[in-house]
């Protein structure tokens, strides 16, 4: 039996990798995928807790998180496509309109 902490540490590492992806990548799509990695890291932790507490509720949360992730992907990709249409690029650094 693998201790639950192993899964939690793994989940933490995956999460950190996702964060790293968001902060160092310039490619919007990769940033987006990094976010998916973070969501999945959280999911893994939830599943691990669920197993450890012998409660099915965690599975429901994961289910809902996946649904939200799907919605997010659909909208996010639509945004990316529109950005690309306007700027011919998906480099995150080209979108700095917030700068004065």
């Amino acid at each position: 039996m693998i201790p639950i902490t192993h899964y939690l540490i793994l989940s933490a590492m995956l999460f950190a990798i996702g964060v790293t992806g968001v902060i160092i990548s310039r490619n919007l799509i990769i940033m987006f995928m990094s976010i998916e990695v973070m969501l999945n890291a959280a999911n893994l932790a939830i599943i691990a807790f669920s197993r450890s507490l012998n409660l099915m509720d965690g599975h429901v949360f994961v289910f809902l998180v996946m649904a939200v992730a799907a919605a997010e992907a659909a909208v996010g990709l639509a945004i990316i496509i529109n950005l690309f249409r306007n700027r011919e690029s998906i480099n995150a650094d080209t979108f700095s309109l917030m700068k004065r």
Partner: protein
């Protein structure tokens, strides 16, 4: 023994896949590595007796979401655009250090929590049917009915939003043409 081996191999693939995903310059390769990582995670799910959710992970992520990513990458034909990482090596190094600190902090939190509470103590006996479809369904339609319905509304809104954003361009074009 076998399950320990499976765990470490899957964990390695999951982490390696994720790392390779952000290290790639080519988005298609990124998608492939992410799929690899997800498949490894699905194995971990199954090891945690979460059969249904594990299958769902593959169906939803690999089967739908990442195909969508690939589709978009191909649609935009991003082959030509290569991306560097950052403004200089110092920047990247700082950010990597940030991430490392984050990992250590998260590990510390896990450690403290597992030490101070018995929250992380694994229960050896599982309810029969744990991880299969019926109990998930039962929870979804009873205890979590409201979140479930809200999620479905969210999905609907997302669909409408995505369609709208994709359509707008066409309408503009028609306007330009007339």
């Amino acid at each position: 023994m076998l399950e320990v081996i499976i765990f470490y191999i899957s964990a390695l693939i999951a982490i390696g896949g994720a790392v390779m995903m952000i290290a790639q310059r080519n988005p298609v390769a990124s998608v492939l590595y992410l799929i690899l990582s997800l498949v490894a995670q699905a194995v971990l799910y199954i090891q945690l007796e979460a059969l249904f959710v594990g299958a769902l992970l593959i169906i939803v992520y690999a089967g739908a979401i990442l195909v969508l990513f690939l589709f978009v990458i191909m649609l935009l034909n991003l082959r030509g655009e290569k991306f560097g990482y950052d403004q200089g090596k110092v920047g990247v190094a700082t950010k990597l250090i940030f991430s490392l600190v984050l990992i250590f902090e998260l590990a510390a939190v896990v450690h403290t929590v597992s030490r101070s509470t018995n929250l992380a103590r694994t229960s050896e006996h599982l309810n029969p049917g744990f991880g299969s479809v019926p109990p998930v369904a039962e929870l979804l339609y009873t205890k979590y009915l409201l979140p479930f319905e809200l999620t479905s509304i969210l999905l609907l809104v997302a669909i409408i939003g995505a369609v709208l954003m994709a359509r707008r361009d066409r309408a503009d074009k028609e306007k330009e043409m007339t």
